[in-house]
Symmetry: C2
Subunit: 215 residues, 2 copies
């Protein structure tokens, strides 16, 4: 039986809809009273795990789930040993550098050397500024990264932006984009190579379905 | 003006109550409709930041907040450069090793060498098993750590336990305790040494208040 790791949060609804379109029903996770972390598909073909977005690649990497759906941003940050097979096109957002709207920084290169950048995505932020040859100090935060510049702890942040509402509400503006992100179908490489549980067929169905939906 | 970093979640209510007892009112954070991340005290003496528990020591370490309240578990995991001044006695929990109730592991030393331990507290877990001289692989997770043993990804978990309800519901049992944790008052070392904003007096008041409440 195949196991699919699904991310809590933003991507869950679309992920479940996509799997429904290929005959796998995990809509039980969407019930507001749901407390279950794993549920079987009614057909008995597969089961699903409901986990934090950052944990999806962990379950797939260890082969506890053969398939997973997760944002490109998480894959960029963690660089897990998984196969990225299909861009599912939903869950668009971008990884951006933002600063106080009142500051004089118009591009990342305007930031002071050894300035501070607060981020939940410390690897993405570090790689980006190393690529610019600008030495900065990355301040790792777990939430409300926008407080970095507001409190004066950091000159900038590197964070996910979708509508930009949070930035605007906090008086911040984007000055650069590191990359754009969408949901991805990831697969445990060995399971894919050995076609465990006929996984290749399911991946093909999901690929076709995704193309049909987004045409 | 002094800034206090307060943790979202479990410890917030008691933290706010304690600060009220020394004349600082940040109860606005408890309003269900609150979206503010920083609020001033009515007296104008201080302001408070509302941040993730893991971020409290970051704000205090960088001196953006002179004071903070955070669980000992977070301090053990992050080892931030802050002064730990008062054990506030509330927010009791313990860091435990747990395994499937149906397993044969009665102590951590029963775990297989090179077995896997899932945890959100990777540093605590690593230090503990190194201390036992038992080489294990730590699997870093962000949430629902109990899925590790349930899915078979790991033999054990290292996680915070308060009532034990989550463990019981998931068929897990504790086999060892790493340490017990309560809320701590932490201070920015330099601010304390220089007695910025008369911080020493406030710390003393909090210490006395805490003793009175817990007598």
């Amino acid at each position: 039986m195949l196991t699919v790791a699904l991310p809590k949060g933003e991507l869950l609804k679309n992920s479940i809809r996509l799997l429904q379109s290929v005959g796998l029903d995990f809509s039980g996770f969407l019930d507001s009273g749901n407390r279950q972390l794993q549920i079987p598909d009614a057909s008995g073909q597969a089961k699903a795990l409901l986990v934090r977005a950052q944990d999806v690649p962990v379950y797939v990497e260890y082969g506890q789930a053969q398939l997973g759906i997760v944002g490109y941003d998480v894959l960029q940050e963690k660089k897990p040993q998984v196969a990225q097979l299909v861009d599912l096109q939903f869950g668009y957002c971008r990884m951006s550098v933002a600063v106080k709207a009142s500051s004089s920084y118009k591009t990342p290169l305007d930031l002071p050397a050894h300035g501070r950048v607060a981020s939940k995505y410390v690897n993405c932020a570090r790689d980006y500024f190393q690529g610019l040859d600008l030495p900065v100090e990355i301040v790792p935060l777990y939430g409300s990264v926008e407080l970095g510049p507001i409190t004066g702890m950091s000159e900038a942040i590197v964070d996910i932006v979708s509508t930009g509402k949070t930035l605007r509400e906090n008086g911040l503006v984007e000055i650069a984009t590191l990359y754009e992100s969408t949901a991805r179908l990831i697969v445990h490489p060995l399971s894919y190579r050995l076609n465990m549980g006929n996984i290749n067929q399911l991946v093909e169905q999901l690929r076709v379905e995704q193309l049909t939906v987004n045409r």
